[in-house]
């Protein structure tokens, strides 16, 4: 029963993904590893789509994964699975709001959770790097260390990094802009 499993997988994601934005990413890689419903490549494409369309990234990725796995009903079931734990937890917390915020165990748990969340997202990013910038097959075929990296990809990455971090004029542009520009560069150069 694929819909039930989709709901359950995204219920877990919604329950354990802490910190918003890309926090759902490690869970989606985990789902891919265990179920084979979609590939790493599809996850990378999905991140791009989620970042450049309206709506919270976490919700967008759940909808996308759900659609790939089970069509429109899959998209709905995955999204509902993702939001159900949040609804339940928030409705419980609302009744003891002050106590929750001032509870020292909650505070201390988050002291450990935040760096863990950053580490999990970094690891997910590492998977995308392996996919986009590293050419393992070409390296194995030729044995030449220069073939290990996609130099065009690295050059593009360096340019985007400079534009998103150092150049004042482009620093605060929406990610959508960089994604669109990269698509054009991809068509012209890759």
């Amino acid at each position: 029963m694929i819909y039930l499993r989709l709901f359950w997988e995204f219920f877990k994601t919604g329950l354990f993904a802490v910190g918003g934005g890309l926090a759902t990413l490690p869970f989606i890689y985990d789902i891919s590893d265990r179920t084979g419903w979609f590939t790493y490549q599809q996850i990378a494409d999905m991140i791009a789509v989620s970042e450049s369309t309206p709506g919270p990234i976490g919700v967008n990725t759940a909808t996308y994964v759900g659609y790939i796995t089970g069509g429109l009903p899959g998209a709905i079931v995955a999204t509902l699975g993702l939001v159900t734990p949040a609804i339940i937890i928030i409705l419980i917390i609302v009744s003891c709001l002050k106590k929750f915020r001032e509870n020292r165990f909650v505070d201390h748990a988050f002291y450990g959770l935040r760096p863990a969340s950053a580490g999990l997202i970094a690891a997910a990013g590492f998977s995308v790097v392996m996919l986009a910038l590293v050419r393992e097959d070409a390296f194995k075929a030729s044995g030449n260390i220069l073939d290990l990296f996609s130099w065009k990809g690295l050059a593009l990455a360096a340019v985007i990094w400079v534009l998103t971090n150092l150049v004042k004029k482009t620093k605060d542009l929406h990610p959508m802009f960089f994604i669109a520009a990269s698509a054009v560069v991809g068509i012209l150069v890759f």
Binding site: L15, P54, A183
Partner: protein, 184 residues
């Protein structure tokens, strides 16, 4: 009854507007939330929105969804929470489904494939930027650095469910802080 329905409908629509005008992750939602909920509807003050936001951030789940549930619950009880949440996810459901269908049909074209090869490079940098931002806020001493490195290394080299890391990190946080408190 009729008033209640009207109120739920308004919550649904307001949060659908918030959803459709939010690009990106949790933080990106704040301006849209302030405009729709504080300025237009006057359902809350700026301070209240910041409070909900802080709580949304320190509870599991997608921040936007958490905040929507909060506002909705405050306005119209449990049903209000559910309707506000449905509102915030509705635009995503429609837009992403259309795009995903489109990509599935055109993914085999060489031009689309090289476009996505370029996009993937961009995604690497976007994730790097996000991690750097999170790092600055979360890695505050050598203990948190250790947690970061351990979780990163383990999840690159082992295939264990991220659930385990999340639980372990929460417990580690509590133990570290308790030990610190006892020392002083």
């Amino acid at each position: 009854m009729k008033d209640k329905l009207k109120q739920l409908g308004r919550l649904l629509i307001t949060f659908a507007v918030v959803g459709v005008t939010t690009f990106g992750g949790g933080y990106a939602m704040l301006p849209a939330l302030q405009r729709e909920v504080v300025e237009k509807r006057r359902w809350a003050t700026d301070e209240e929105v910041m409070d909900w936001y802080a709580i949304g951030q320190c509870t599991p789940g997608v921040i936007a969804v958490n905040t929507a549930t909060f506002v909705g619950q405050k306005q119209a009880g449990v049903l209000g929470g559910i309707f506000a949440t449905l509102g915030v996810v509705f635009p995503s459901l429609v837009i992403i489904t259309i795009i995903a269908a489109f990509i599935q049909n055109f993914a085999h074209l060489p031009a689309v494939q090289s476009a996505f090869a370029g996009i993937r490079v961009c995604v690497c940098v976007l994730i790097l930027n996000a991690v750097v931002k999170l790092w600055k806020k979360s890695v505050v001493d050598w203990k948190t650095l250790l947690i970061f490195i351990a979780v990163f290394a383990c999840s690159v080299f082992l295939s264990i469910s991220p659930v385990i890391y999340v639980l372990a990190a929460a417990i580690a946080g509590i133990i570290v802080k308790e030990l610190e408190a006892r020392k002083s």
